[in-house]
């Protein structure tokens, strides 16, 4: 059979589209490569132990700069944990309301409101935190300054709320109606059914929501840059603290290219990258687990 004219064009497009798809892989490899290449030298110079476990970050000291990221590492972990502790319950119960309890018309209004919450730029959250939350904390707790881990945790909790709500609502809505009917038929109330039947049935989706929240909280920079005070202290709830992300952000524009300080910032980036990869891996596994269940 004679070859048609279109054949070469079709082949070309196939290759071109495959190239588009590969672009995502290439970008990821490029990012990983840059972070490793730029991040390893400073770690090697400071020593991995000193870098990860050192408690002093003094990158601009001309004589003896110190690059210990433990304060930032712990702050990031505490911050993410705090955001989850505050944000997940609120998000979970909101999702139960949206998926199960709310009258349909109300739910139809509330869901766009939640996605609006997700769409608000992080600097706006930072600004509101800076001007409303920080002074309020200072006044309420009688502190010298309100910029603190606590302020950052509250801002982060609000910021992870929409994704927690979104994933949890989706998971709850996917629970087969028969489960709930079974429970109701046994004389359980609706509220009991949501919490004792629907939520456990949706648990892997909810777990994924928590993991995603952790990822978001670990990765946020600008909003908490504006409320956390940014001193590289060991974490304390009412202390001024610096996160891994803000540690990079605060010095990026001042570190001269090629300097050890800048290399050290890339080392922080590398650590953050590894953390996020682990979180993603966990997220993937929880989501896959749901498909299996």
């Amino acid at each position: 059979m004679r070859k048609s004219r279109e054949r070469p064009g079709e082949l070309f497009m196939g290759v071109l589209l495959a190239a588009c798809a590969l672009a995502a892989v290439v970008f990821l490899l490029l990012i990983a490569l840059y972070l490793i290449l730029a991040g390893l030298p400073a770690i090697r110079k400071a020593g991995l132990g000193e870098f990860l476990l050192g408690t002093v970050w003094d990158s601009t000291n001309a004589e003896a700069p110190r690059f210990g990221i433990l304060p930032m590492l712990l702050t990031s972990l505490w911050g993410a944990a705090g955001a989850v502790v505050l944000g997940v319950p609120v998000g979970f119960f909101t999702a139960v309301y949206l998926a199960k309890a709310a009258p349909r018309p109300l739910a139809r209004v509330l869901r766009p409101a939640v996605s609006l919450l997700a769409g608000i730029p992080s600097v706006v959250y930072g600004l509101v935190g800076m001007c409303a939350l920080v002074p309020a904390l200072r006044a309420a707790l009688d502190l010298p300054a309100g910029d603190s881990l606590l302020a950052a945790v509250i801002v982060l909790a609000v910021m992870i709320l929409p994704s927690v709500i979104d994933l949890t609502t989706t998971a709850l809505e996917a629970v087969p109606r028969e489960y709930e009917e079974g429970s109701l038929a046994l004389g359980a109330t609706e509220a009991e059914t949501w919490l004792r039947v629907s939520a456990p049935a949706a648990r892997s989706g909810i777990a994924a929501a928590v993991v995603l929240g952790v990822g978001r909280a670990l990765g946020e920079a600008m909003a908490i840059l504006m409320v956390a005070g940014n001193v590289p202290n060991m974490p304390g709830l009412l202390r001024s603290v610096r996160f891994l992300t803000t540690g990079i952000a605060i010095e990026m524009n001042y570190a001269s290219p090629g300097s050890l300080q800048r290399q050290a910032l890339f080392s922080i980036g590398l650590v953050l990258f590894v953390f996020i990869l682990l979180v993603n891996l966990l997220l993937n596994r929880t989501l896959k687990g749901r498909k299996g269940a």
Binding site: M1, R2, K3, S4, R5, E6, R7, E10
Partner: protein, 253 residues
């Protein structure tokens, strides 16, 4: 009268993964005739139809063994240009599937695909195809309208026109009337009888009366096997195989 077989299958096997859908099918499809494929659902008649223009390729993990030729050339040979094969062996589907475009663009889609862009020539092709599909009078004043706005029967005739517009030699119809009402069905059956003059038609139908009304030849499939193929009248009046007789007398299926 000399009869030339345009499509020949010899010991054709077809597998979906491990499941065998066709077993040693040997059949010849005569040119310029209507051949009906009948049999209970899941018997392989649709699978066989879809091998004829390699629409079967669209399902992943399938495998073909044996031989299937179109004009003496192996259909499943790697050298075959599938797009050209499908131009020459057109297809009409069970459910009318017009594209979300105007009636005109639907019919012109095929010719454009195969490189015909001349406006006057396209106008001509579109009109002739719609006439051939017996729908020209109904749509000639609204060619620019969305084809999805037509009734099911009209949509199906537009789809037939669309298939005819690329000047195929063979037209495959996969239960093309099963989604239509009786009046639309009757119109399409009339159309098939007219199209027989110029095209080779292979149709899958679950309706034995339809096969009897419009086809010259009938093939009966059962469990992936071609049980019997022959002149329609002979097959329905004097089936050679007991299973064919059981089926056409309504004992199963």
């Amino acid at each position: 009268m000399k009869e030339k077989d345009i499509i020949k299958a010899r010991n054709l096997d077809f597998f979906y993964g491990r499941a065998q859908a066709l077993r040693h099918v040997t059949a010849a499809i005569p040119a310029g005739r209507v051949t009906a494929l009948i049999g209970p659902s899941g018997c392989g008649k649709s699978t066989f139809l879809r091998t004829l223009n390699r629409m079967s390729d669209l399902v992943e993990g399938t495998r073909v063994e044996g031989s299937l030729t179109f004009h003496g050339e192996e259909v499943f040979s790697p050298n075959v240009d599938v797009t050209e094969l499908r131009r020459r062996v057109g297809m009409v589907f069970q459910k009318p599937n017009p594209f979300p475009m105007s009636i005109y663009d639907n019919v012109a889609y095929g010719p454009r695909t195969h490189g015909r862009w001349n406006r006057a020539a396209l106008d001509d092709i579109v009109e002739r195809s719609l006439r051939a599909a017996a729908i020209w009078d109904e749509v000639k004043d609204c060619l620019k309208k969305d084809a999805l706005g037509l009734s099911g029967g009209q949509q199906q005739r537009v789809c037939i026109a669309r298939a005819l517009a690329v000047k195929p030699e063979v037209l495959l119809m996969d239960e093309a009337t099963s989604a239509l009402d009786p009046i639309s069905t009757a119109r399409i059956e009339d159309l098939i009888l007219e199209l027989r003059e110029h095209y080779t038609i292979v149709m899958v139908t679950h309706n034995m009366q339809q096969a009897l009304r419009v086809s010259d030849k009938t093939a009966f499939f059962l469990l992936g096997e071609l049980v019997e193929i022959g002149d329609t009248e002979t097959l329905f009046s004097m089936p050679r195989d007991k299973r064919t007789e059981d089926y056409i007398t309504g004992r199963f299926g």
